[in-house]
């Protein structure tokens, strides 16, 4: 690390930071891109179809259709980039970035592996080191910002269907944010801190001491709210072919649309990272007390991919909600449930001490 840093005329701290940023964002983005393919193949398999398996490298190497990602990217890149005449041009350009950037930023505090000591300095495997004072509040806040992407996209395209989709989506996000935050608060309480490193440490390495076992109710609430948060089925109210055309991204084409679609998948990655960190012990390897760094990273990636797959899986299992059902579920079920969860754990802690 020192050699590399001196080669690039930077300090080791900066070089390590740049390396982490590149690894994390390249990793998350490529995982998101792969999951666009996984979603299509997975849904096909679930519905007894085959899915995209034809795209091949140089027309020969098929690699089970993985080249479809590349093909889609190239196609999107060369499409015409239309802007509606009545659109708000500035915001129209900004919207895909507003959707995409928060989806990636949320990943910054999540530790994706065990910290290790090398040459007298401790290296933490998360973009922002633990003890930065923001902790888990940061991804929640950034996640709340994701609604701007949808809403700005909807409003700037000056389209009635778009604005309907954007409004519905932002309403859903606002309603589910509360239940989600309360579920997370009870984790903060039991873990005694809101830093992800502390939360992971508090969960330990035995699967039955993870928060999924300690707070199953909180998990159900948080998991459901994550679906609403990422705008995925069964809560995909930003879209809706039968009602509001394509919803908030009706007017978007070319790379703008591609970025919007990728934002959804990046959001999914961040959400599954949050689920893994909060409820499934983060990088902790089950039954292994002191795992090696590589093993812990691999375990985290496995958890991340599994929960991203659960997102896909649920999407192709559960039918969509009606809008009033969504609101009813959000305010009358999820919010009281997370309240009960919070009060129950507060009561247990008060009995314990």
């Amino acid at each position: 690390m020192d050699k590399l840093a001196s080669l690039l005329h930077t300090t080791p701290a900066i070089a390590w930071m740049v390396l982490k940023v590149v690894i994390v964002f390249a990793g998350v983005m490529s995982l998101a891109a792969i999951f666009t393919w996984v979603e299509r193949r997975g849904s096909a398999m679930i519905q007894d179809r085959i899915g995209p398996n034809r795209a091949a490298l140089f027309g020969k190497i098929r690699i089970i259709g993985l080249a479809q990602i590349l093909a889609d990217g190239i196609k999107m890149f060369f499409k015409e980039d239309l802007i509606p005449a009545a659109a708000n041009r500035g915001l129209f350009f900004l919207a895909p970035f507003l959707a995409f950037v928060p989806a990636l930023l949320g990943f910054a505090v999540i530790p994706f592996g065990k910290s290790f000591v090398s040459g007298g300095t401790t290296y933490h495997l998360s973009v922002l080191d633990p003890g930065n004072g923001m902790g888990m509040l940061y991804p929640l806040a950034i996640g709340g910002m994701a609604v701007y992407g949808v809403l700005v996209a909807a409003w700037s395209s000056n389209n009635k269907w778009s604005i309907l989709g954007g409004m519905r989506s932002s309403a859903a996000m606002v309603s589910y944010e509360i239940g989600m935050s309360l579920a997370v608060v009870s984790i903060f309480m039991t873990a005694g801190g809101y830093d992800p490193a502390e939360i992971i440490k508090a969960q330990g390495h035995q699967p039955w001491t993870w928060n999924i076992v300690r707070q199953p109710l909180g998990f159900i609430v948080f998991f459901t709210c994550m679906f609403a948060e990422t705008n995925r089925l069964p809560f995909d109210f930003a879209e809706g072919e039968s009602e509001i055309v394509a919803g908030f991204n009706t007017e978007f084409g070319s790379m703008k649309y591609s970025l919007m679609a990728l934002a959804e998948y990046s959001h999914m990655m961040t959400a599954s990272a949050l689920i893994a960190t909060l409820y499934f012990g983060g990088w902790q390897v089950p039954f292994v007390k002191d795992p090696s760094v590589l093993l812990s990273v691999a375990c985290f990636v496995v958890k991340l991919v599994f929960f991203a797959w659960v997102f896909v899986w649920i999407r192709w299992t559960v039918p969509r909600f009606r809008y009033d059902q969504l609101m009813k579920l959000g305010w009358k079920r999820m919010l009281p449930l997370s309240m009960v969860n919070l009060v129950f754990h507060a009561w247990r802690m008060s009995q314990g001490h």
Binding site: G42, A44, D48, R49, I50, I220, W313, I314, T317
Partner: protein, 187 residues
């Protein structure tokens, strides 16, 4: 008079929503695993260029003009198919031929030209129905596409050879007996 629709009574377990979702996930996962480990040849999807669908009996695809063992055309140019054709895509020109073995020295009719415009044909099978000699069949080839209009005009020899490869027969491009030159009738 309205119909009273009785709503299904859900048990408390079903009303939690979580349990039914888990059941549904089990079903979809079952489908996923089954489809994942089914070999390609046993899946419902027919992967077209590599795999082809076996058409059912009675399918009406590309025509074939049948021939005798010696390669002589079965068609006697009676024009029944041309008359029966609702799309008017068949056009026949007749000629006379004579062969001592087959026609005992008399002149017989056969098509000199037998054209089907495959762009007009609706594959209704009326020509097959109308034919008194079973000389035209609609068979199972359905891959009828071409890059230009001209290659969709099938002539007599095209039609006689449409299934030559499939049946393992030789391609022919000549009648076994020459036609009789048209005689000028001197009154």
């Amino acid at each position: 008079m309205g119909v009273v629709v009785k709503k299904a009574e859900l048990s408390w377990l079903d009303r939690t929503y979580v349990w039914p979702v888990l059941k549904g996930m089990a079903i979809t996962f079952d489908h996923f695993i089954k489809q994942l480990f089914t070999p390609t040849s046993k899946r419902y999807t027919i992967q077209y260029p590599e795999m082809k669908k076996e058409m059912p009996d009675g399918y009406r695809g590309l025509h074939e003009l049948k021939r005798f063992e010696d390669g002589a055309i079965k068609c006697v140019a009676c024009f029944m198919c041309q008359e029966a054709c609702p799309a008017r895509c068949i056009s026949i020109e007749a000629e006379e031929f004579s062969d001592l073995n087959i026609t005992q020295g008399f002149e017989e009719k056969r098509p000199a030209q037998f054209k089907i415009d495959m762009l007009r044909c609706i594959y209704c099978g009326m020509c097959e129905e109308a034919c008194p000699k079973d000389a035209i069949w609609l068979r199972k080839d359905y891959e009828l596409a071409a890059y230009d209009r001209l290659s969709m005009q099938f002539g007599k020899w095209d039609l006689m050879n449409t299934y030559a490869e499939a049946d393992g027969k030789d391609r022919i491009s000549q009648d076994p007996t020459p036609s009789v030159p048209r005689r000028t009738i001197v009154m």
